[in-house]
């Protein structure tokens, strides 16, 4: 039973990471980033380039973070700021265009055949009682925890983090106060893409590396975000973990509905619990 929970937490950690990235961008800029998963995919391929040159997989972690931060800055400064005048459909289309571009670039240079991605950490699993603690899963949960702690520190203890939350609360109020909205938005995109990179890196060893390997993860991340109320990072984290654990339980006991379960769940929640399980106040809709 604990095996199920442990594996569920590892899967859930990935959902949480991706969902967090989505919620960060959504709450501060009201853009739903449909390319969050594929960003992680692109960055995972970047890591793969390093690994092919004999760099130890675990050291690619800072690589994806930095690459993600840079990519996020470029995307926001170069594009999203100009896109502000577009309709919401337009913004959605732009992020969808990113998925096309990222998947296309990867397919052109690496082909569509799945590539094997080495685990970030090797060694035998730890066994305590009847529970098996696989090292890769353990590392995933650990990395996710570290990221979440860092995120909370940034969001609650740094000026720029508090400013980001203020923009999420009331953009006009922040604007009038003189808070530099553009600069903080840049920061949020950079942060989100860095987190996306980490999500991609920890997912790659579990599934093979191919242009679409993060698409399913992203879908689950959206479900997790909806569970968590769509506008709180804490909600996204909890939503992801709960979804991961629930999924694993269902996979074990009722394998037939394993995949469709979360899909039906999200539709039900969207219809009946628009604020998710943890959502605060009113969710932003357009």
């Amino acid at each position: 039973m604990f095996n199920i929970i442990f594996r569920g937490l590892a899967t859930g950690a990935i959902y949480s990471l991706t969902a967090t990235g989505i919620v960060l961008i959504l709450s501060t800029t009201n853009v739903m980033n449909f390319a969050q998963g594929d960003t992680g995919m692109l960055l995972a391929y970047v890591a793969f380039l390093f690994i092919a040159r004999r760099v130890p997989p675990i050291l690619t972690l800072p690589v994806v973070v930095i690459a993600g931060i840079l990519l996020g800055l470029v995307v926001d400064r170069g594009l999203m700021s100009k896109a502000k005048k577009s309709s919401h459909l337009g913004m959605v289309m732009i992020t969808l265009a990113f998925t096309m571009i990222f998947e296309g670039i990867v397919a052109t240079f690496f082909g569509n055949t799945p590539l094997l991605f080495p685990p970030l950490i090797s060694g035998d699993p730890f066994i305590i009682g009847s529970t098996v603690f696989d090292r890769q899963n353990l590392l995933t949960i650990f990395i996710a925890l570290v990221i979440f702690v860092v995120l909370f520190f940034v969001l609650y203890r740094t000026k720029i983090g508090i400013a980001a939350r203020s923009i999420a609360d009331d953009e006009y109020g922040a604007y009038v106060l003189g808070v530099p909205i553009n600069r903080i938005t840049n920061f949020i995109w950079a942060l989100s893409f860095g987190v996306a990179g980490i999500a991609g890196l920890v997912t790659a060893p579990r599934l093979s590396l191919e242009p679409t390997f993060m698409v399913v993860v992203q879908l689950k991340a959206f479900i997790a975000a909806v569970l968590g109320g769509m506008n709180s990072v804490m909600g996204a984290i909890l939503g992801g973990l709960i979804l991961g654990v629930l999924e694993n339980f269902i996979a074990y006991y009722i394998p037939a509905i394993k995949d469709s379960f979360s899909l039906i769940l999200v539709v039900l929640i969207l219809l009946f619990l628009p604020n998710g399980i943890f959502g605060k106040r009113e969710t932003r809709r357009f």
Partner: protein
């Protein structure tokens, strides 16, 4: 008068295209695929461009139509026309079912819900044995009307063209009538539309029904043309492709989806198969450019160029 000549010439050209390409049936095949996509795209265009809703699950309706028709023909030996009509009806029915929950969702949330539902459909298709599961259905027979088998690309071209023209005429008449005005009013201002007595719910659901019916038709035509249906072909990627086609071609216009589909299918083929994934990148870039600069897509651009051309030729 001049206009009519141009229209007639264009029409004659359309009829003669396959004759010109008789030596390259595979190219006609691509054109046929473009026509199929155009039919589906017209449906999506109605949903997004005219009624202002969004769907990231359009490909699923195509799958439903295609599988329904294919299964009816293959397992129950239902005649083609009936099977295709059933495919359309079943798709429309699912559109009807989805239309209701869609009433309560807006924007991003509708996008997520349709994305989830679209994926759920392909999942279910994967699990059922009647649909061939993961392997899909092979050797789907071509459309047969009165003992004539539409198996050559040549013959399919004319059939599909007729259907596309019918679909376009139907849509145009619908848009010009009360239905179209209701949808457009709704897209522009729901609040305003309600105060004029427009029954919003009716039109929203109607939009879903029509768009899924068209996708279903496209799916059925696809099934009997390509002869193979696989669940992985109808996933999120295809839904996103349709969105891209609709937007690049021109949202809210009737010619837009056709233009978009033609570009989508034919342009990458002109460059050879090795560059296909590069084509996706280029389309992504074009999509971004269109969103940022041409909200009504390339169709609008052509319209503007046309005006420019006419003005300069008038000055001469």
């Amino acid at each position: 008068m001049r206009r009519r000549i141009i229209n007639l010439a264009g029409f004659a050209l359309l009829l003669l295209i396959p004759v010109f390409l008789k030596s390259r049936p595979s190219f006609i095949g691509y054109i046929n695929l473009a026509i199929i996509y155009a039919i589906a795209a017209e449906g999506l265009n109605l949903l997004i461009g005219v009624s202002g809703q969004i769907s990231l699950g359009h490909a699923a309706f195509m799958a439903i139509g295609g599988y329904t028709s294919a299964i009816l023909v293959m397992s129950l030996h239902v005649p083609s026309i009936v099977a295709i009509i059933c495919g359309v009806i079943v798709s429309a029915f699912f559109g009807f079912i989805i239309g209701f929950p869609a009433l309560r969702l807006k924007g991003f949330y509708l996008a997520i819900a349709t994305m989830a539902l679209g994926t759920a459909v392909t999942d279910i298709i994967r699990r059922l044995s009647i649909t061939g599961g993961d392997q899909g259905l092979r050797n789907i027979p071509p459309i047969k009307i009165f003992n004539f088998s539409f198996s050559s690309e040549f013959s399919k071209y004319y059939l599909f063209l007729v259907l596309l023209i019918l679909a376009v005429i139907l849509i145009r008449n619908f848009l010009r009538g009360k239905g179209g005005m209701g949808l457009r009013a709704m897209r522009d201002s729901e609040f305003g539309a309600v105060s004029y007595g427009v029954n919003i719910s009716y039109y929203k659901v109607l939009a879903f029904v029509i768009s899924s019916a068209l996708a279903g038709l496209a799916g059925a035509l696809y099934a009997h043309s390509v002869s193979y249906l696989g669940p992985s072909n109808f996933g999120l990627a295809l839904s996103i492709d349709f969105l891209a086609i609709t937007i690049i071609g021109g949202l809210g216009t009737i010619g837009g989806p056709i233009l978009g589909s033609v570009l989508w299918i034919i342009v990458p083929r002109l460059f050879g198969t090795r560059l296909e994934s590069m084509a996706t990148v280029i389309f992504g870039v074009i999509l971004i450019i269109v969103v940022l600069t041409l909200p009504h897509g390339l169709y609008e651009l052509i319209g503007k160029l046309n005006k420019l051309f006419r003005r300069t030729s008038q000055e001469q």
